[in-house]
């Protein structure tokens, strides 16, 4: 999470070529407890790259297959190459493919099936990927 944006809503970017998924995720997010959440939506990877370059995105939910791209192995690295260092989660209606296990190698933080997304899963993702894992004496000014 961008530490310089504390107090502002958590910004999630959904990248999915099916606009219906935007509606579904927005409805789910309305039920999530905790920090205020703002949902941005784009339908292709080029727009997603432009969004993360513009800054302010805390978490990206990236659909596995974005036409005309192949799968996350082709799209997630584009977000990293654009300098995005926030968490990327791959969402898909089918995450049973064996290649999904390689997700850490492609700069992806987690994967989740679309049928598994509900308010408790979103809460867990937010809590897990925005918490500070290192104690204060591990702050970078101690370097």
């Amino acid at each position: 999470m961008n530490s310089d944006r504390r107090g502002q809503p958590l910004k999630i970017l959904l990248v999915d070529d099916d606009p219906a998924e935007h509606v579904l995720l927005r409805r789910t997010l309305e039920k999530v407890e905790g920090p205020a959440i703002e949902l941005d939506y784009v339908g292709d990877i080029a727009s997603a790259v432009a969004s993360v370059k513009a800054g302010g995105i805390d978490i990206v939910f990236l659909d596995n297959r974005l036409v005309p791209n192949n799968d996350f192995r082709e799209t997630a690295p584009q977000l990293r190459e654009a300098g995005y260092i926030g968490p990327i989660g791959i969402i898909s209606s089918d995450i049973s493919g064996k290649y999904f296990q390689q997700f850490p190698e492609f700069g992806v933080d987690f994967r989740i099936g679309k049928d598994e997304i509900d308010r408790t899963a979103i809460s867990f993702i937010i809590s897990e990927y925005t918490r500070n894992q290192l104690s204060d004496n591990c702050a970078e000014d101690f370097l």
């Binding site: 407890e33 260092i85 064996k98 296990q101 987690f110 598994e116 408790t120």
Partner: protein, 226 residues
Amino acid sequence: MPEAAYHLGPELVRAVNRMDFFRLFKALAVNQQCRYFVLSEVSGEEEGINLQHPHALHNLPESWLKGTNGKSLGADPVIAEARRSTAPFPMDLARHPSVLAHASGAKTAIVVPLHTLAAKRYCLIMFGEASLPKHEAMAVLALDAALIFQRYYAVILSLDSVSGLNEREIQIVRWTSEGKTSAEIAIILGLSEHTVNSYIAAILRKLHVVNRAQMVASALRSGLIA
């Protein structure tokens, strides 16, 4: 929701991070008509369980935890019984109201004690609306929970006791020794800052050090980096 036994299929061996195990334990709970679950280490201290611990997994809403009004979770009848038991058991919440699960309207708690090779006690607690499971169902559920937990131990928990650093961890120590921040290392390696910090947290535990400077010094002394 995922189909029955999803948590025991290929996804079990493909689980690689805490999010994957959250999904597996949640699927197990949902299969028991339990909407909520908690996996936590059981301590001998008054609190009983610590949901803030880095190894705890749960999907309880934040408001429930606030709803305990700062009361020790150890006083909750479900937690108290979990601390005393070494065998799985169901609990009728109408007879033993749980402060923790009160807001859920759950009728039943199912508790499965678990343990690691390093003799640490954990427990899986599920809250749901189904009636109390029968003996045979409890046995199958306990086995399923143990299988997922065994994998959780192998992939996540055992890292605390593994010595030596893997290739990625050595890369991160090397870049830290060059004065790079987590964000800079994330850009260099094409990872998230969260992933880099996860690696650093694991390295600190493995090297028994407390900060980045000591991490680099220890790695240099032991020849992990030149």
